[in-house]
């Protein structure tokens, strides 16, 4: 793991303090977001050397090709730049308590520049991989993540909202795929491509990445209800709310929305409403399904330490009480 961090620094190629800030940002205390990179590294290791490669032992470092390692780093860099750019604020929406407008403007400048800087590093890294198909796949992840910010799940300021056109849980799946799933799924797939593995390996790696993302996000959403505390807050776009909306008459959902708009004082009430409706247990069922799908997609790889590590990680990220 520390290796990824080390290489990431090398790839970015500078001791610039902004980078340190960026890294501090991605560590949120609970989840080290470099976990995504670890998934890519482990699935590369689980898949093993390329079938056509007779000199794999000389090239591979602890079971992973150098370019697969680079890919994992690039993925982390892209994700970090996405987080930074998401943090750009609309100056018209800045409230007086946020701080002086000139400071916010300056913060924006820095967010834009450092995010761009990381993106440029990612582009250079991608170009170095020398595989146009991989460049295309990974670039399309960036497009997907940007798309996620323009759907009816977020308002222009990046706050969670739900528009009337929402289709329910299927929209949640699309949104989760665009914002998190696409990057992990396509990176896992590209890692297979870089080693010259079969189409079956590529498809399975994609399925793995996709389902892990759903399971991980579902677990997070469920936890925000089961371990509710005042500080963490709720989101109207979380899976339990969307499932609740599908389960109850329109009238009841409107009541919930009204409660939500009245502010955090009512959140405890919302939590109990949703728990009673059975939406949470439905979420848990879905979570188990996605988790099992992710684990079964690993069946194509022969048993190894890397494979059991992947299974353990999937189990850990999708664990809810």
């Amino acid at each position: 793991m520390s290796n990824v961090a080390l290489h990431m620094r090398k790839l970015v190629g500078t001791k610039h303090p902004l980078l340190k800030t960026a890294r501090g940002m991605v560590f949120d205390g609970n989840h080290n977001l470099q976990m995504k990179g670890l998934f890519v590294m482990l699935i590369s290791k689980a898949a093993g050397p390329s079938p056509q490669d007779d000199f794999a032992h000389e090239e591979m470092v602890s079971g992973v090709y150098p370019n697969q390692r680079s890919l994992a780093e690039i993925m982390e860099i892209i994700h970090t730049s996405y987080l930074i750019h998401k943090g750009v604020v609309n100056l018209d929406s800045v409230l007086p308590e946020d701080g002086p407008i000139s400071d916010m403007e300056f913060g924006n400048k820095m967010a834009v520049l450092s995010g761009d800087y990381l993106l440029a590093s990612a582009c250079r890294g991608l170009a170095k991989l020398g595989n146009p198909k991989v460049v295309e796949e990974v670039a399309s992840c960036i497009a997907d993540m940007m798309t996620a910010e323009f759907t009816n799940f977020t308002d222009p300021d990046g706050k969670d909202t739900i528009s009337q056109t929402c289709q329910g849980f299927s929209d949640w799946l699309t949104q989760t795929y665009f914002s998190f799933g696409s990057l992990l799924a396509k990176s896992c797939q590209s890692a297979m491509r870089l080693a010259g593995h079969s189409d079956q390996f590529k498809n399975m790696a994609f399925t793995f990445g996709e389902n892990v993302s759903y399971a991980e996000q579902l677990a997070k959403d469920i936890k925000s209800f089961t371990n509710y505390d005042e500080s963490s807050g709720l989101s109207l776009t979380s899976a339990p709310v969307l499932l609740y909306r599908e389960r109850v008459p329109a009238q009841e959902y409107e009541n919930l929305e009204k409660l939500w708009q009245q502010g955090p004082a009512n959140y405890q009430k919302i939590v109990s409403l949703i728990s009673k409706s059975g939406a949470i247990s439905q979420c848990k069922e879905l979570l188990a399904q996605y988790r099992d799908k992710a684990i079964s997609s690993l069946e194509c790889y022969s048993d190894s330490e890397a494979k059991s590590a992947l299974v353990n990680m999937v189990t850990a990220v999708s664990y809810v009480r």
Partner: protein, 453 residues
């Protein structure tokens, strides 16, 4: 996810330290210094340069050395070279010449004096080239360029689609035009006719997309309200989604580039993306030392503007499969053209009217940027230097700097430098066999000097 404001606050803190600690900015420069693979830079010995400018304009000489990874002359960047014209340029052995008056390639009479206003240039119309409009030659390829780019950007999310397609078809499309002409020149050189390959046209599209994406981000950074005669995206939709839309354009451009399927082309264009952003970082800082400051400016100009033009020219040359020296010539043409383009832009910042530019004039000064005319003026009026260092932040700084530029011949000197680059650009074209596209490219470098917007 963390609240959107949080990261900004974190960044603000970082930047405070960054401002205090100038060495941090130097780190960025060191980084940019290291990435010189495939790029060249110009080094000007300012003192001697200025002396020459004032005494004998015809002997204006420019040190122009190239730094490549594989270059056996490993120039020390701090070492001041005696001014010289590289032999490559002295012995062009071509039909292109500047001295004969009747020559169609005749650009600027050597005896001519430059005035402060580029309006002057519009009166100079060398007879045989007056009616060549470079755009007409590539009209068939240019016609659907913007619609095709819009097709690449299509997506089933209306707001994103609208925002990303917003600027296309509104600008001059200067970069794709140069790129397409260069493609024709290269293809013609190998007797494959003056057609443009599909992949070369894609590079032209990528060039315009990368440029537009960088404009979208620039406008947020510079808080610009207008662009290409339209209300800017950040003004209309806020900073946040503008940035994200810019990223979307970038990623679609990268995808289009990847679909060409040539790792070398991907590599060439990825340096452009890097250069643009490191140019942006360089713009944040300035140098104390007078000489270094001008070099810093030139390097910034290369990274921010010339790199895109130079490397797209190089990319289309690589695709047409011309020999290595011609790839290099294509790159050199683009680099000189790009430098000239930006220098003229700097001049226009002072002299053009707001209406013609589609953006307010004096914009650079107001943003705290010292562009070429100011830097030239500061060589005579040392009192400008502290103003440059404080980025014209105090009241009256902008007005004073403007007055000094008008008083000195900062604009004139900048135009001379731009003219010099234009001439270099035309010279490099002599390596290609003659065709109408080559003539058009030479004309482009001339039009640049005459443009009013």
């Amino acid at each position: 996810m963390a609240a959107p404001g949080v990261s900004c606050r974190v960044f603000f803190r970082t930047l405070k330290t960054l401002r205090r600690n100038r060495s941090a900015l130097n780190t960025v420069q060191e980084f940019t210094n290291r990435t010189t693979n495939g790029s060249s830079e110009i080094s000007l010995n300012n003192d001697s340069l200025i002396r020459r400018l004032h005494s004998r304009p015809s002997s204006f000489q420019l040190t122009c050395y190239h730094k490549h990874c594989d270059n056996q002359h490993n120039h020390d960047r701090h070492h001041r070279h005696q001014c010289h014209i590289p032999s490559r340029l002295a012995t062009s052995g071509s039909s292109i010449s500047f001295s004969t008056k009747s020559n169609a390639w005749h650009l600027v009479p050597s005896s001519r004096t430059l005035t402060t206003s580029p309006l002057y240039f519009s009166k100079v119309t060398p007879s045989s080239m007056a009616d060549i409009d470079p755009y007409t030659l590539v009209e068939s390829d240019m016609k659907d360029l913007a619609p095709d780019i819009c097709k690449v950007l299509e997506i089933d999310v209306p707001k994103l689609e609208y925002m990303t397609q917003y600027y296309f078809g509104r600008g001059k499309a200067f970069r794709p035009m140069v790129c397409l002409l260069m493609a024709k020149v290269c293809n013609n050189h190998l007797n494959t006719g003056e057609i443009v390959l599909e992949s070369q046209r894609n590079v032209a599209m990528v060039a315009e997309m990368l440029h537009t994406a960088s404009l979208v981000h620039d406008d947020v950074i510079d808080a610009a309200d207008e662009r290409r005669g339209l209300e800017s995206l950040n003004k209309k939709y806020g900073q946040r989604q503008s940035i994200l839309a810019g990223n979307y354009i970038l990623s679609k451009a990268t995808m289009l580039l990847a679909q060409i399927g040539n790792p070398q082309i991907i590599s060439i264009l990825s340096t452009v993306i890097e250069d643009i952003i490191s140019g942006e970082f360089m713009q944040l800082g300035s140098k104390e030392d007078e000489n270094e400051r001008f070099q810093h400016y030139l390097k910034k100009t290369y990274k921010k503007t010339a790199s895109l033009i130079a490397n797209t020219c190089k990319a289309v040359a690589v695709m047409s499969d011309v020999e290595e020296t011609l790839v290099e010539a294509a790159y050199e043409y683009g680099r000189n053209l790009g430098m000239s383009f930006q220098l003229v832009d700097d001049v226009l910042d002072f002299v053009a009217s707001q209406q013609a530019m589609g953006k307010p004039t004096d914009a650079d000064l107001k943003l705290g940027l010292a562009n070429a005319p100011v830097l030239f003026a500061a060589m005579e009026h040392k009192e400008l230097q502290p103003m440059i260092m404080r980025r014209f932040s105090e009241e009256g700084d902008v007005e004073y700097a403007r007055a000094m530029v008008e008083k000195t011949d900062g604009v004139k000197q900048t135009m001379m430098l731009a003219t010099r680059h234009s001439e270099e650009a035309v010279k490099t074209l002599s390596k290609f066999s003659s065709c109408s596209a080559r003539e058009a490219l030479a004309r482009v470098s001339q039009i640049l000097l005459q443009r009013e917007k």
